[in-house]
């Protein structure tokens, strides 16, 4: 499979993880650019993944690999690494493309290590100028303040890549007809060293940010817990719910249920007003769906300005009180 691409998809419940098709689109594009074929793999208990494999058979793929085993009924790193190492040895792709999910973070670096490789992780773009030169993979450094371009320099080995949420469009996946093949890995229960429990949620959510029309969200730029009252006043004036980036909730300044981002809530308000938030990808995935984003940040290069409709480069300690006053004035007037 010279220049072949193998995309490893992720399931969630009985369906797909929302990022699976983004990875599939990235894989199809990479294969087309490199002049190779694209295949896809889905892992799990055979009966559970059969309908998913059938769905993949309607996509433009060389082969759909159905990797079924009772020991893959629940995700474990040991199970996934063993099964995928065997599949890769059989399929011999040049590129393995994965969605950069929490599950992929958990196993892909070790899978690459087992094959003497390094995962080029959380990639935002894949550029192929000339196929013979190979692809360039773009990753973010410094929480999005720099772009670093990577090439796979390995001696002909497999190149592992995971793609960042939202960087490729899941609806760009090309349809077609492909053949489903089953692959039965050799797995041993004794070699699965971790015992995973069921997923649970900590406490009943008392605030539902997902339906809030207006959100004022505060980040580490606020400096101290004491200063939160500034944004609370702004939220009150706007009739908004208050939300926060992770560090604010980590510090216990606001409850965890007000956290927006990949490990918190996903919101889609009419207005998202980000105050002192830098705009790390894990935050952005939770609020990209907002209709209008206004960002107040003292750093003109903060990545939040890339998703903002209106940006204010300034000190929040000046802008926020002035804005609160102006809104209160407008409400009276």
């Amino acid at each position: 499979m010279s220049n072949g691409v193998l995309v490893v998809l992720e399931t969630k419940g009985a369906g797909w993880h929302r990022m699976s098709f983004e990875a599939l689109a990235a894989g199809q594009k990479l294969a087309a650019d490199m002049g190779g074929a694209c295949s896809a793999a889905v892992l799990g208990e055979a009966a559970a993944i059969a309908p998913l494999a059938a769905e993949l058979a309607t996509k433009r793929l060389a082969t759909v690999w159905m990797v079924g085993d009772a020991l893959l009924a629940q995700y474990t790193a040991d199970g996934w690494i063993a099964a995928l190492a065997q599949l890769i040895a059989e399929v011999k792709p040049k590129y393995v493309v994965l969605p950069h999910t929490y599950q992929v973070r958990d196993f892909a670096p070790a899978l690459a290590t087992r094959m003497g490789e390094v995962l080029i992780g959380d990639v935002t773009a894949i550029q192929v100028a000339v196929a013979a030169d190979g692809p360039v993979f773009v990753r973010q450094w410094m929480q999005g303040k720099l772009n670093a371009e990577y090439r796979h320099g390995g001696d002909g080995g497999v190149c592992f890549v995971s793609v960042q949420a939202g960087s490729f469009r899941g609806d760009a996946v090309e349809s077609g007809a492909s053949e489903v093949k089953t692959f039965a890995p050799t797995l041993e229960a004794a070699k699965i060293r971790t015992k995973p429990g069921e997923a649970f949620r900590e406490a009943a959510q008392t605030v539902d940010l997902s339906s809030a029309p207006v959100i004022v969200s505060v980040g580490r730029g606020i400096g101290e817990q004491e200063n939160l009252k500034l944004v609370e006043a702004l939220a009150t004036a706007l009739g908004a719910e208050i939300a926060a980036s992770r560090p604010i909730c980590d510090a216990g300044w606001l409850p965890m249920e007000r956290q927006v981002g990949s490990s918190g809530q996903t919101v889609a308000p009419k207005l998202y007003l980000a105050v002192g938030i830098s705009g790390a990808i894990q935050h952005l995935v939770g609020m990209k769906g907002a209709k209008t984003v206004i960002a107040i940040n003292k750093d003109a290069d903060a990545p939040i300005f890339e998703v903002a409709d209106i940006g204010v480069v300034g000190d929040l300690f000046e802008v926020v009180p002035a804005l609160t006053k102006a809104i209160e004035g407008a409400a009276r007037g």
Binding site: R105, A108, G116, V118, E149, G197, E306, L323, I327
Partner: protein
Amino acid sequence: MKIVVAVKQVPERDAVVRVAADGRGLDERDVTWTMNEPDAYALEEALQLKERAGEAEVVVLCAGPERVQSTLREALAKGADRAVHVVTPESGAGSLGERDSLDVARLLAEAVKAEAADLVLTGLQSDDLGAGQTGVVMAELLGVPHATLVLQVELLGNGIKVKRELEDGWMQQVEMPLPALLTVQSGGNRLRYATLMGIKRARQKEMREVSAAAAAKRVDEVVKVSPPTRVKRTEMLTGSADEIAATLVERLRFEVKVL
């Protein structure tokens, strides 16, 4: 019980970010350095485990040039028992920038092997490279089970039970035998500050330097580093705070229609 915590020194969050002259790295000249945030949580979890277990040794480990000793000292001041510094050159061959994640993980794994640790903790991701791999790679190199995105660790009779984060606010418990490696997510505990007494004591604690093995050939290569180009045209408002506020109110009323 021996716990090794890998802590990385990274640029402060509001450090000036400039591309190095060769266009392939970060210009480190005016950078001030700090402990990678998730690593501070990993250290906190280790210190609390020690307090709960009654007896344990907490060893902090860092690979990097001379400057990283300030971060190791900070960890000692917070309560770690001793430090191991894997010394790499400031720049050029063998420096951190010239090594890929696999190679850095190898350096750290070698040091861990020499310690025969029961538990290895790392942060889940570094703020500068954002690779999120070093811990998981180390687990594979050490041949021990691992879990990522860990918030809490509980010692069982014959192993550990950890609480780890899944996406969208979901959690999961995972059990595994020791020795094991965990990559720690921020927010599981409140971080402690170093006390004056701690800072004084840290001066007496052992800081062992070991020299780093020569760098292996990189698997991946960084060919270019540059500031990102903006994809979306953000409208930037300028003026005094009051002028900005007045403009925003107009927009909120007539365009966004929330007033």
